[in-house]
């Protein structure tokens, strides 16, 4: 029980489900919708964003006392953009195929409201350690939603998970077909909409 009361753990676990960045705070929706056609891209995107938000929260929080109020946005953008360049170069070097599929969406982490939002609302007013935990928690919460949506879309849309066929052949022979709709843009909107509904009903405050 003592572990759960630790404020670091608490800060980290709160945004994972209860105060989820996508479903509750409405932050970072853009990329959540775009990269969830396949599970693989969703996982990589989740990792990249978790990396960026954790370290941007940490760095912004370290410098929070030295940066004047009116240039803080430019400062935050510079920190975030540098981290995104790191993540992008890393993906290009080691996961070239996935980096091609993610195309501009890695770069768009810069303008992802989740990263900016956490830096503005949390990191500017808290110590580095706890800000880092907050970033990590938000990153994990974001990744969970991405993985959940991608799981549904890939399973029903192409009958596979992580590229492996899941739906057995005899079902296709019996007349089952993949739902091509799941791979298109509208499906992403509707799945997130339903997910928000589910979350609101389950965790009514």
């Amino acid at each position: 029980m003592k572990l759960l009361n630790n404020k670091y753990i608490k800060t980290m676990s709160e945004p994972v489900i209860g105060n989820n960045p996508i479903n509750v705070q409405m932050l970072g929706i853009c990329s959540a919708l775009a990269v969830t056609v396949q599970l693989k891209t969703a996982i990589v995107m989740g990792l990249a964003l978790t990396f960026v938000v954790t370290f941007s929260n940490f760095i912004v929080s370290v410098f929070r006392k030295f940066v004047p109020e009116n240039i803080r946005i430019i400062f935050e953008l510079c920190v975030i953009a540098s981290l995104v360049i790191l993540a992008d170069e890393f993906l290009k070097a080691y996961l070239f195929g996935i980096s091609k599929q993610l195309s501009v969406f890695v770069g768009l982490i810069i303008t992802n409201c989740l990263v900016m939002g956490r830096a503005e609302t949390f990191a500017l007013g808290n110590t580095p350690g706890i800000s880092m935990m907050d970033g990590l928690g938000n990153g994990i919460g974001y990744s969970l939603v991405l993985i959940f949506v991608a799981f549904i879309r890939e399973l029903f849309g192409s009958g596979s998970l992580l590229g492996y066929k899941i739906v057995p052949q005899f079902l296709y022979n019996a007349g089952y077909t993949d739902m091509g709709f799941m791979l298109l843009a509208p499906a992403a909107f509707i799945i997130i909409g339903l997910l928000v509904w589910l979350q609101k009903t389950l965790f009514k405050s």
Binding site: M26, C30, L77, A81, G107, L108, T111, I192, G193
Partner: protein, 202 residues
């Protein structure tokens, strides 16, 4: 010419930057509950997007692309990895300049757009347009058309959703679906509507 026209139609309808690439969703969800505000931010996006896309094209092709610095005697330089940070800086700077120009020359426009302009610097639709332009290797005229078209598409989607949300005030959805959830589902239906245009080719 024909090519440019079809690119324009394509970027407004088929490849609508909001409904098929999901860019600029945050302000889309947050601002669309007020029709007037939606209108203001929509115009600001068209405006800023038409300005920043060509500017970023020039920056990319004369400073950052591989071999672009040959005019300065540095033909082997490849600074394209710096594009994220340069683009966002140039967008922020352009927004600031546009804001100052509007403030100087058109007071009524400034009062209606003024509050939205700073917000736009961090709108993913703007940065997204610039990044797409690099990825699809557009020429300068194509970039100008694409910037304007993407902005117009965003504006269209935005005011349509805002108008639908006014009607939704009289609807009676389940408790948990109210607000955000319902907005996403409506956006999904709109996105389906926009897909109808994909059969059109000019």
């Amino acid at each position: 010419m024909e090519n440019l026209l079809s690119l324009f139609v394509n970027s407004v309808f088929v490849g609508n930057i909001l409904l098929s690439y999901f860019l600029g969703m945050c302000s889309f969800v947050a601002v669309s509950n007020n029709y007037k505000t939606a209108m203001g931010i929509g115009f600001a996006v068209i405006f800023v997007n038409s300005v920043t896309a060509p500017v970023n094209w020039l920056v990319f092709n004369y400073l950052l692309a591989p071999g672009a610095l040959s005019w300065a005697g540095l033909p082997n330089m490849d600074l394209s990895f710096l594009k994220f940070i340069t683009f966002i800086a140039s967008i922020a700077a352009m927004v600031q300049i546009v804001e100052m120009i509007i403030d100087r020359f058109s007071q009524p426009l400034y009062t209606s757009l003024g509050v939205f302009l700073p917000l736009i610097a961090v709108n993913c639709a703007i940065l997204g347009t610039s990044l797409f332009m690099v990825e699809r290797q557009y020429s300068l005229p194509e970039t100008i058309v694409f910037g304007f078209g993407a902005g117009t598409g965003w504006f269209l989607a935005m005011i349509t959703l805002a108008a639908i949300r006014i009607k939704l005030l009289y609807a009676d959805p389940p408790e948990g679906l109210k607000g955000y959830g319902l907005t996403m589902i409506v956006a999904g239906l709109m996105s389906m509507g926009f897909m109808i245009f994909s059969g059109i080719s000019l």
